[in-house]
Structures are given as structure tokens and as C-alpha cells.
């Protein structure tokens, strides 16, 4: 580990914390439906969208209606993507004449991008036409991110709203207004600015498919090109993570230098961090937001330290062959060990899944942290919207546990937490271990599953475990040695991604609806304080024990066994 490496981590965290309030305030304006300076330009577009689709943005939707409209909209966009991918060969903007995407891969990919996962069983440059990249995939990078943020707004309203005194039903907002505002006034303008920065830095933006060069040694090299920068910007900002190229943000055309790399890491975390502030603002006490951010940041820094330490220490197997230093297998020289380790923790703490180094080639414990981050449910900052609503489900459990310990009625930010909310929260949280461990176990005994891993021994098991963890947690990064483009893995992972997204969202929205109907309970001397270090410590404990402990046996079989083999020099 180097001073420069730690300085990079410190500056990254510093900039992020400085961004939390301004980003959070901007998001709060969108949450409230207030006018922003951008309304002067984009206001007519917003109103036009509502008029053409017959939407009344003032309608306050019940949680059921919010959920149904969200699901049908996601299903419609998913279908569009599936059709576009299947018909790719006959559609325009296909300069290299790529064939249609096969049915199982198109199924997997359509779900993957709809669910904000961006798991890719394919290599972008050899599979997707420019039209598919733009219309089928970039579109979902916006929509799945906007959906996540809208859902977080809905849950915030559950906590913040007071039922009307005349007994009328209390809704949780309007889905259409939420996604339209988030897209027009946040995601699109930021993507334009970041996209232009990426182009200026060397990220291609062209409709050409490729260019031929004759190298200095006289060989022929064909470089894949395309509209990369426009996709890159929203890919990071929306914590999508699906690369234009197979190597993702390790590809020099996606991430040409250390500065673009830093901006990409900040883009991944910016909105998720801001949302903690927005939450505090929404419930009328910004300290509530800071307490959550403190818990997230603590978990993040511990993870970063472990991965950086392990990657800098390097692989003893290579040291014994006379190759000293940190682990550079699967890493780019321009990023080195520090920025690769940091990126890997950021991308898995958030549900991004973009990579600037190959996690499969990390040291055993260095690669375990990305895996563990996802198993926690990606609540360490997390995906845009998904991180904070996932974390708030843990907060509900935390006040419940605290209530049991001290014998008080659990309350959180002015709302009583009762058996219905706790049951729904547990239901949502239980999806993760059930599906991840169930599907991993199945794949680890079936021949079609065992055909997948590239590596042998415990690392091969880690590849399978990582794939299902990544899918259910909606991350999308991979231990990419796994051959996943098979009907078995495409099908299983497709189902895993769908369940991991929507089987958490629906109970979460039910919690929002249930909370919105409750009257406000003012804080008294008897309330358990949900700000301050004691609360932050309790949150961390609940996330680790409830979220993490379930996975310990599977980690022992994979990365921990791999680590013991690595230090003994046992190879597979």
C-alpha cells in the first residue's frame, strides 16, 4: 500500500461527502416536485410527455397502483428490448452486420438491463449492434435508474406523510411524475455533461462500427468503435454497469485514464450518497440521513481497506516464481493496484457492476470483499434508490431489535413500526439468501452448472457463487471466467435477476403504503434515538448479522478455502 493510494481513497471519500448535500438538495426538489432552473428548458418536454400519455401528475397513487404501474411500465420496456435484440440483424445501425441475439441470451439481457443489473453473458463488441447498444440498452440504463430513485421517493413519502385528518386515503406519490422528473432534470443533463467530458478524454462517440489500423510492426488490428460515451455516462451515474465492450471500464475506450476513472467512481456513488441527505430532509431531520451515511461509509472503508491490503500484498504463488509486488494479473497499468481495488469495492457496494479490473483474478480475500458487499444486499450506498430503500428495510429491523432489547415500542422517524412492517421487511431481506444460496447449490451439483467455471478448485465454486450473488443483488459484475452464455445460466440468472429486483420492491412498497397511513408519533423521552453513534453502530451490526452471517458457510467453501490454498502454494 502506498501514500498515493491512500490519498486517492481519502480524496474520493472527501469529494463524495462534499457532494452529498448539494446532490441531496437537488433530489429533494425533484422529490417535492418543485421547480428547478432546468424547468425553463425541459418543462415543456415534461408536460408534453404527460399530455401524450394521458397522465395526471398530481394524482396521488396508492402503493398498489404505484406498484402496478411501475411493473407494467418495466414489462413494456423489457419487451421492447427483447424484440429489438431478436430483430437486430434486420434493423439499421448495424455496421458490422451482427446477427440476431439468441432467445435465451435476449431473455437474460432484457431482464438484466430492466432490473438495473446489467449482467452480461455476452461480449458487447461481438454481439450488439449500435442500435441495440443505444435503443435497447442505453434506454434501460436511464429507466431502471429512474425507477430505483422513484421507488426510494415512494418509501420516503411513507415515512414523511401524515394521513389527512378527514380519513381520506394517503398515497405515496405518482410513479410517472417521479420517473419523468428524475430522468429529465437529473439523469439526462448530467449524462450530457459527463458524456462530453468522456468524449474529450478519448471515449469514442461515432456511428461507425470499427476501424482498421496497420500497427507499427505491420500487423492488422481492428478496433471496435461505436456510440460509447453516451452509454458510459449513464452506465456509471445510474449504477447500471453494463459495458459497451466486454472488458467494461477496463477497456481503454471506456475509461482512458486515471481522471476518467476517478470521475466514474464518483458517478457511481454520487446519487446514492445524495439520497441519504434527501431522506433526512424528507423526514424533517437531516441527522437521520447522516446517521445512515455514517454506517454506510464505515462498512465501505473497512471493505476498501481489506481489498487494497490484499491486492497490494499480492499473490504468494507469483512471488515464488520471482515476480515481486502487488497483484497485477487482470489489472491495467494506468489504474494500478489502488484505483483497481477502490473501484472494485465502489462498484459492488453500489449495485453498479462496472469493473476496471477483473475480479476473477483478484487475490482470494481481495475478491471476497466485492462478493460480500453484494451479499449484504448492496446497501453500502447501494444502487441509485435501491441502496437507500434496502438500507431502510434494515433500519426497520434495527429499531425492532432495539425495541425488543429495551422493551419499548419501536418507532422510526415518527412512525410506529409494527408487526406488518417488520414481516414485510423480513420477507424482502430473505429473498437474497434464499435465491442466491438455493441456485448456487443447484448449479454446484448439476452437470450443466459445473460446466461453467473456468477455474478449478474452490475458485471455481467462487465463480458460481459470485454469478448468482451478482444476479440476485442486481449488481452485474462477474468472476468472468464463468461461461454463462448457456441456456442453463442465461435462464437461471435471468430468473434470479427478476426475483432479486421485484420481489424486494413489492414488499418494500407495501411497507411504504402501510407507513403512509400511520399517524405521526412525536418523539418523546422514551423513543429510541435514531441519530448518533449508538444507532449507527446498531445499524452496522444488523446489516452484518442479518445480511452477512447467512453467507459465511458459502464464503468458507469459496474464497476462504482459496485463500488458504493460495498461502500454502497449492494450485488447481
Amino acid at each position: 500500500m502506498t501514500i498515493a493510494g491512500w490519498l486517492l481513497i481519502a480524496v474520493f471519500v472527501g469529494v463524495l461527502l462534499a457532494l452529498a448535500k448539494p446532490v441531496g438538495l437537488w433530489l429533494f426538489a425533484l422529490y417535492e416536485g418543485r421547480r428547478t432552473p432546468l424547468h425553463a428548458v425541459l418543462g415543456p418536454v415534461e408536460r408534453g410527455f404527460y399530455r401524450l400519455s394521458g397522465i395526471d401528475p398530481q394524482e396521488d397513487q396508492s402503493w398498489r397502483r404505484y406498484a402496478v404501474h411501475m411493473l407494467i411500465f418495466n414489462a413494456a420496456a423489457l419487451l421492447l428490448t427483447y424484440v429489438l435484440l431478436r430483430a437486430q440483424a434486420v434493423l439499421p445501425l448495424n455496421p458490422r452486420g451482427l446477427g440476431a441475439v439468441g432467445p435465451d441470451l435476449a431473455f437474460n439481457t432484457a431482464i438484466s438491463f430492466t432490473a438495473n443489473t446489467n449482467w452480461q453473458s455476452y461480449a458487447g463488441e461481438s454481439t450488439m449492434s449500435n442500435l441495440s447498444q443505444m435503443l435497447a440498452l442505453t434506454l434501460h440504463n436511464f429507466l431502471s435508474a429512474a425507477t430505483g430513485i422513484a421507488l426510494a421517493f415512494a418509501l420516503f413519502r411513507g415515512f414523511a406523510r401524515r394521513p389527512s385528518p378527514n380519513g381520506g386515503a394517503t398515497g405515496i406519490g405518482n410513479f410517472w411524475a417521479d420517473i419523468t422528473r428524475v430522468t429529465l432534470y437529473l439523469l439526462l443533463p448530467l449524462s450530457i455533461v459527463l458524456g462530453l467530458f468522456y468524449i474529450a478524454s478519448g471515449v469514442p462517440q461515432t456511428l461507425a462500427g470499427s476501424v482498421d489500423v496497420t500497427t507499427l510492426e505491420g500487423a492488422r488490428q481492428t478496433l471496435a468503435l461505436g456510440p460509447v460515451a453516451s452509454q458510459e455516462a449513464i452506465k456509471m451515474l445510474g449504477t447500471n454497469g453494463g459495458g459497451f465492450f466486454n472488458a467494461n471500464s477496463a477497456h481503454p475506450f471506456e475509461n482512458p485514464n486515471a481522471l476518467t476513472n476517478l470521475i466514474q467512481m464518483l458517478s457511481i456513488f454520487a446519487i446514492g450518497t445524495g439520497l441519504t441527505y434527501t431522506f433526512g430532509k424528507a423526514v424533517g431531520n437531516t441527522r437521520q440521513g447522516w446517521a445512515i451515511l455514517a454506517a454506510m461509509m464505515t462498512l465501505f472503508l473497512v471493505g476498501t481497506t481489506v481489498t487494497y491490503w490484499q491486492e497490494a500484498a499480492g499473490n504468494p504463488v507469483l512471488h515464488n516464481l520471482g515476480v515481486p509486488g502487488g497483484n497485477m494479473e487482470g489489472k491495467e497499468v494506468r489504474f494500478g493496484v489502488a484505483a483497481s481495488a477502490l473501484f472494485s469495492v465502489v462498484t459492488t457496494a453500489a449495485s453498479c457492476g462496472a469493473v476496471n479490473a477483473m475480479h476473477d483474478s483478484f487475490t482470494a480475500l481481495g475478491g471476497m470483499i466485492p462478493l460480500f458487499n453484494m451479499q449484504l444486499g448492496e446497501v453500502v450506498i447501494g444502487g441509485v434508490g435501491a441502496g437507500i430503500y434496502g438500507f431502510l428495510l434494515f433500519a426497520i429491523l434495527a429499531v425492532f431489535v432495539a425495541g425488543l432489547m429495551v422493551g419499548r415500542t419501536p418507532e422510526y422517524v415518527g412512525k410506529k413500526i409494527e408487526s406488518r412492517e417488520v414481516k414485510l421487511a423480513v420477507l424482502a431481506i430473505a429473498v437474497l439468501p434464499l435465491v442466491i444460496l438455493g441456485m448456487t447449490a443447484l448449479a454446484a451439483v448439476l452437470p450443466v452448472g459445473l460446466a461453467g467455471p473456468l477455474n478449478k478448485g474452490p475458485h471455481g465454486f467462487s465463480e458460481i457463487l459470485y454469478a448468482f450473488t451478482s444476479a440476485v443483488a442486481n449488481n452485474g459484475s462477474a468472476f468472468a471466467g464463468l461461461t454463462a452464455n448457456t441456456p442453463f445460466y442465461n435462464g437461471m440468472l435471468g430468473v434470479a435477476m427478476w426475483v432479486g429486483r421485484f420481489f424486494i420492491i413489492v414488499p418494500m412498497l407495501a411497507v411504504a403504503g402501510s407507513l403512509a397511513a400511520k399517524k405521526h408519533t412525536p418523539e418523546t423521552a422514551g423513543s429510541f434515538p435514531t441519530t448518533g453513534p449508538l444507532w449507527t453502530g446498531l445499524l452496522i451490526g444488523i446489516v452484518l448479522i442479518v445480511g452477512g452471517l447467512t453467507f459465511l458457510p458459502s464464503l468458507a467453501l469459496g474464497p476462504i478455502a482459496d485463500h488458504l490454498a493460495m498461502i500454502r502454494g497449492q494450485l488447481f
Binding site: 486517492l8 411500465f73 461480449a123 478519448g202 500497427t215 510492426e217 499480492g314 499473490n315 502487488g326 478448485g457
Partner: protein, 196 residues
């Protein structure tokens, strides 16, 4: 519930269409237009032209196998530096295949520069298989081999390398690195290519 589904159909279909036009067509095309007009070189792959034809991109690595050139890192992209098949090796830390490959590469490098430990980036594959850079140590390691092949003085090549080292921004954003394509072009400038 049924009512919720019915009321969702028109907005779901029309909004999908409108967003598709705005975000999937207008946005990338507008960015392409601006990119091509304002940053034409970067938007088209940062290509370097020599005698009217492209000889490479300044930000994507290419294969160098000859003793007369600084070599790039081992590559898992296709047969090596395949611009249509970016990829890492994805070999894990306890892989026998990885250990065998590194061992063979160490031996071949040490044959040219006996007795010195090989810088790790020279015997490890990058994440993309298209890494344009090597570390300054990896460049210094290759100087004597190139000096012999080109009949140049080692000191002269060393000065060339030192001029090509890119330092981290503010000392901590990035790693010290040498772009191999740029370095080799300078090298050809000092002693011309052999006629082939």
C-alpha cells in the same frame, strides 16, 4: 387491482415509446453530432495517421513482438491485442494455468536480461487485453535488449523512456506509466525501421 392495470396500459406504452425516442435515439445521436464536431479525433478513436493510413490509437495497446520494440504486456484479448475481443485471462490466484504461464514468461524475459527480477506487469495479462501502458520499470527492463537489436546506446534509449513517462496527476491520481505505442514511435524516429 384490475383498474390499476387498465389505467397503466396507455401511459406504459406511450411513455416507453417517448423515452425510447428521447433517450435511445435523440440523446446518443445528439452526443454523436457534438462529439464529431467538437472532438473529432477523440470521438473516432484517437488514431495516429502516418503516410495517410492509421497506424494505431494512442489509447489502445497493440502487440509488439520484435526485439527492436518495447513489448506490451501479455494479452488475453483473442490471439493478443484483438480490438474486437477485449478480455482478461480471468485466471484465479490458485490457478495452475496462471502459474505455468507466468513461469514461462519469466524465463523468456530473463533470457534477455539475466539475473534481474521481472516487473510484474510484464508477465501478467491486463484486464482488457488492450492495455496501452507498461510501468517505467518494465520499460527500463527492456532497454538493453532493444539497444542490442538496434545498435543504439543504452543511455540514449533510457533518456527516450524517461521523457515518455507520464506521472500521476497531483502525484496521486493514476500510476507512473509509459505508453508503449508512443514510445516505440519515438524509437523509430531515432533509428528508422528496417526495410521489410
Amino acid at each position: 387491482m384490475n383498474n390499476d392495470i387498465l389505467t397503466s396500459l396507455r401511459p406504459a406504452l406511450v411513455m416507453t415509446l417517448l423515452f425510447a425516442l428521447l433517450l435511445g435515439i435523440a440523446y446518443p445521436l445528439a452526443m454523436t453530432g457534438i462529439g464529431q464536431a467538437v472532438f473529432p479525433s477523440q470521438a473516432n478513436g484517437s488514431l495516429v495517421m502516418q503516410d495517410g493510413k492509421a497506424v494505431g490509437s494512442t489509447i489502445v495497446g497493440q502487440a509488439f513482438t520484435s526485439d527492436r520494440y518495447f513489448q506490451t504486456r501479455p494479452s488475453a484479448a483473442g490471439e493478443g491485442y484483438d480490438g474486437l475481443a477485449s478480455s482478461g485471462s480471468n485466471l484465479g490466484p490458485t490457478s495452475q494455468v496462471l502459474a505455468d504461464r507466468v513461469k514461462a514468461d519469466v524465463q523468456s524475459h530473463q533470457a534477455a536480461a539475466p539475473g534481474r527480477p521481472v516487473p510484474s506487469d510484464l508477465v501478467t495479462t491486463s484486464a482488457s487485453g488492450l492495455d496501452p501502458d507498461i510501468s517505467p520499470e518494465a520499460a527500463f527492463y527492456q532497454i538493453e535488449r532493444i539497444a542490442r537489436a538496434r545498435g543504439l546506446k543504452a543511455g540514449e534509449i533510457r533518456r527516450l523512456v524517461e521523457r515518455q513517462i507520464e506521472r500521476p496527476i497531483f502525484g496521486f491520481i493514476g500510476e507512473p506509466r509509459v505508453n508503449v505505442f508512443e514510445l516505440n514511435r519515438r524509437l523509430d524516429g531515432v533509428s528508422a525501421k528496417p526495410s521489410r
